[in-house]
């Protein structure tokens, strides 16, 4: 059993007590320690800025051309906090409980409580940074509702909340760069983690402009490198999102937790062609006003406006009257799939309607435009349909990874000195994340949790000598990274990198997507090694390693997806229950809801790498609940 190092004492006092018990590094000594932060999304940028403010030497890395582009920027709807400004019954405890329940009782209670506890400070911090959140006429902050909650606790900046929060964190980061407390390395991709005497001591990176492979040492390494949704090829993630940093850390000893918990978001623009490069999300915030429906009768080909009320099935409102269109994402997605599988899908069969006609009638087109204008514009640009006149067509798509590297209560992996924050870790969302909680978690980790817990680790070690970069482990990592690049460039086969990526993605979506079963998962486990084997024999990557070479970058990432995909499927096969985003067809209630098996699976599955192509070793962290009571989720 893995020890999550959760402090003792009552749930609501744990974090306060822990902060007091964390060892401190005195201000004069902080500058002697160097921290490497990989990734500049909400978690990475906020952590790098906050650690630099404290006085540590910080180096920040991102593969994009500037830290402002990390994919947190695309988050649309909002960020949760337990402020209870609307006076509608919210509290830290309610946010905690909604998140635990939303995660289908597969998250670590103490982490989730702490997340809810620090949520309010995040809003304070962001407002002080100048994040232009939506306001009411009196000048106070406005809230909207999101799935899985019966209170309005979501703060938002139009449909661009992630952008505004990220720019706040990016600006905080550059404010420290101006003071030379942080060095920012854009267009730099992490290729390996360097572990010396059992502790993380640095990383090996590739300068994406020149191709040069370089070593950087640090007294601690923080991975804030996001999620692995692109293993499915088509997802709502940015094209560059990848598993490489955490996968290569995994191969250096860090345990990978719950990879099968992948979130399929219910409201995305449906797939429309083979050439398609990504899927686009339409914010969950739209479900505040949009109503989801399909024609009652399969084969009803009338245009939506001509289908009368009696011939429509508002299936979410029918099945879940108390939460209606605002049920959690996993439930909404499965319900849409169920309708489409039964032949009631629209627009070619793989879509349902999200209809604003009644909302427009109720509050007027202008009000709807103010709330969702940019999303409606984006929908129209992509589909050429006007959602003010005709219902949107939406379908579920891969969106978020609840799984990630295993971390303890301090957000440290099982490799000492390796911290993992934001989407890259597994910690707070269990088997399903609630809407507007990713932004909350990223910023909680970076602004308010890691700055305390990393000090406790650093206080116990001596600062590394900068000559450590000549250590054999650094040299070995540089050589291995370099020889993989040479190998990829030397194959000169017949298929492109994207071709392999698409094949892997289709297979995973088919066998390990919204619904999974043992036979399909076993089939995928047979097929993935074959795709991988062909990749290393028949892929073509042109050009050289000593230049800006985007196909080479993608090849390295797809090579890792081809290994990681197998672990994702193996985890899904081993978890013989349904929970949250992991739906095993064999385990469902008579009404078709997810059937958890708490007796056998109330644990975190943390996998240990044992060698290429070998089955991984399973470690378990038992999930114990003091406050929340294990119950079947009920949104009816």
């Amino acid at each position: 059993m893995l020890d999550p190092k959760v402090p003792s004492g009552p749930l609501k006092d744990k974090w306060t007590a822990h902060k007091f018990n964390c060892k401190l590094v005195n201000p004069a000594n902080k500058r002697k320690y160097k921290v490497l932060v990989v990734g500049t999304g909400l978690a990475g940028a906020s952590a790098a800025a906050s650690l630099a403010e404290l006085g540590y030497q910080v180096e920040s890395f991102c593969f994009q051309d500037t830290p402002r582009r990390a994919h947190s920027i695309a988050a649309q709807g909002g960020i949760n906090a337990a402020k209870n400004y609307p006076n509608d019954g919210d509290s830290i405890k309610r946010l905690f409980y909604d998140t635990i329940k939303g995660g289908d009782f597969r998250s670590r209670e103490a982490n989730v409580y702490r997340l809810a506890e620090v949520s309010n400070a995040i809003i304070d911090q962001c407002v002080a940074q100048g994040v232009p959140f939506a306001r009411e006429y009196a000048g106070y902050l406005d809230n909207r509702s999101f799935g899985g909650a019966q209170v309005s606790r979501t703060f938002y900046a139009r449909g661009q909340t992630g952008q505004q929060l990220l720019l706040g964190a990016y600006q905080a980061l550059l404010k420290e760069a101006a003071k030379k407390n942080v060095t920012v390395h854009p267009r730099t991709e992490m290729l390996d983690l360097v572990v010396i005497d059992g502790a993380a001591k640095g990383i090996v990176v590739r300068n994406l402009t020149t191709g040069r492979i370089e070593s950087h040492y640090g007294d601690a390494v923080v991975l804030a490198t996001g999620g692995y949704g692109n293993v499915f090829y088509l997802s709502t993630n940015a094209k560059g999102c990848n598993v490489t940093a955490i996968w290569r850390a995994h191969k250096k000893g860090a345990f990978f937790a719950n990879p099968c918990y992948t979130q399929i978001h219910p409201t995305c623009i449906p797939v429309h062609g083979d050439y398609q490069s990504k899927l686009t999300l339409m914010s969950e915030g739209l479900r505040n006003d949009g109503r989801v429906w399909v024609p009652k009768n399969s084969g009803d080909k009338r245009p939506p406006q001509e289908i009368p009320e009696n011939d429509r099935d508002y299936f979410l409102e029918r099945k879940y009257p108390s939460f209606g269109n605002l049920v959690p994402r996993d439930i909404a997605s499965r319900a849409a799939k169920e309708q489409c599988d039964a032949g009631r899908g629209v627009g070619g069969g793989h879509a349902v309607y999200l209809d604003f006609a009644q909302a427009i009638e109720r509050v007027g087109e202008q009000a709807i435009k103010e709330r969702y204008g940019n999303l409606f514009d984006m929908y129209q640009k992509i589909t050429d349909h006007d959602p003010y006149r005709t219902p949107m067509m939406i379908y579920p798509a891969v969106h978020y990874a609840m799984g990630g590297l295993w971390v303890d209560y301090n957000l440290m992996s099982n490799v000492p000195g390796l911290f993992v924050i934001g989407e890259a870790n597994f910690s707070d969302h269990g088997a399903n994340r609630l809407g507007a909680s990713a932004l909350m978690q990223g910023l909680a980790d970076g602004y308010f949790i890691l700055p305390y817990t990393i000090g406790d680790y650093l206080a116990k070690i001596k600062p590394a000598d900068k000559n450590i970069v000549t250590h054999a482990e650094f040299k070995r990592s540089e050589q291995e990274s370099g020889s993989q690049i040479e190998k990829l460039l030397s194959i000169r086969g017949k298929r492109t990198v994207d071709d392999f990526h698409r094949e892997l993605g289709h297979l995973l979506w088919d066998k390990c997507g919204m619904a999974r079963n043992a036979a399909g998962l076993k089939e995928a486990l047979q097929k993935i090694p074959k795709i991988r084997e062909e990749f290393w024999r028949n892929v073509t990557v042109l050009g050289s390693g000593e230049e800006f070479n985007q196909a080479l970058e993608r090849a390295g990432r797809v090579a890792d997806f081809l290994e990681f995909g197998e672990l994702l499927v193996a985890d899904a096969l081993h978890r013989e229950e349904s929970c949250g985003g992991h739906f095993r067809e064999e385990y469902q209630t008579p009404e078709g809801e997810a059937l958890r098996r708490d007796d056998a699976f109330a644990y975190v599955a943390a996998w240990q790498f044992t060698g290429a192509g070998k089955p991984e070793t399973l470690h378990k962290e038992e999930l114990k609940y003091e406050e929340a009571h294990l119950a079947q989720r009920n949104y009816k």
Binding site: R69, D124, P132, L167, K175, A238, T280, D499, F548
Partner: protein
């Protein structure tokens, strides 16, 4: 599926900042009009790769118009012909069968070419670093509702804050001016009470850095607003000029 069209592409190819560049001609055949511009380039690149030819490099990431990574000048227009649209959200239904598209990187001495259509926009980061922030440290913030912000001001700040830092304003300006980019950030922060304390220093330092980077002057062409994928208003430039003048008076 939309209909399919055939296009001739004239694409700027340049190995790196030091090497000279030139146009190469490619045929893009059977392009589905439902594709985005970048998906069209993906298809061209897949074909080039299969022919053993170096694919066209271009920056891109989110492909939903918000990260600001993508951008190219298409037939003389930054981000192409559709108003308020990034290249990744520009769909091929905006073009017709048989058309020739001239595709170039952002043209500015301040944005050196990394390769082909990818350019280096680190100068924007340095401008932000000069003052595009509010100097609050983590933990210092007061309660969020302690300072009410009039809704009108919050909305104006948000209009400016939408800037995605893509650089189209610079590419579109005959002078290569970055006034719209800089003004958007100055206006966003200076409009809010939270940004009040540092407003003079912010505008002086950011404008100072902008000049130091070598961006050109503004001569009120308004090409920047026309090219901006977030349609950020040139009114922000007037706002910035006002803040700048006041900052001088306050010294």
């Amino acid at each position: 599926m939309g209909k399919t069209i055939n296009l001739t592409l004239k694409v700027w190819r340049q190995k790196d900042a030091q090497s000279p560049g030139k146009f190469e001609v490619y045929q893009a055949k059977g392009i589905d009009t439902d594709m985005s511009f970048l998906e069209m380039l993906d298809v061209v690149n897949e074909n080039l790769t299969k022919e053993g030819k170096d694919p066209i490099a271009f920056d891109h990431d989110c492909r939903e118009g918000i990260c600001g990574a993508c951008g190219a000048v298409v037939n003389g227009q930054a981000h192409g012909p559709q108003r308020g649209t990034t290249l990744c959200q520009l769909h091929m239904r905006n073009f017709h069968d048989g058309q020739t598209l001239v595709i170039e990187p952002w043209r500015s001495a301040v944005f050196p070419v990394v390769k082909d259509l990818a350019v280096d926009r680190c100068s924007f980061d340095r401008v932000i670093q000069a003052g595009g922030f509010i100097s609050v440290k983590t933990g210092q913030a007061p309660e969020a509702n302690a300072i009410p912000v009039p809704k009108e001001k919050a909305e104006l700040a948000m209009d400016a804050a939408q800037c995605i830092g893509c650089g189209a304003c610079v590419a579109a300006c005959p002078n290569g001016s970055a006034m719209l980019f800089v003004a958007a950030k100055v206006a966003h922060l200076n409009l809010l009470p939270q940004g009040e304390v540092e407003k003079d220093r912010r505008v002086l330092d950011m404008v100072g850095q902008m000049d130091k980077e070598g961006f050109g002057n503004c001569s009120n062409e308004y090409e920047c607003e026309a090219a901006c994928p977030k349609t950020i208003s040139v009114a922000n430039i007037a706002r910035m000029n006002k803040y700048h003048r006041n900052a001088f008076d306050h010294r």
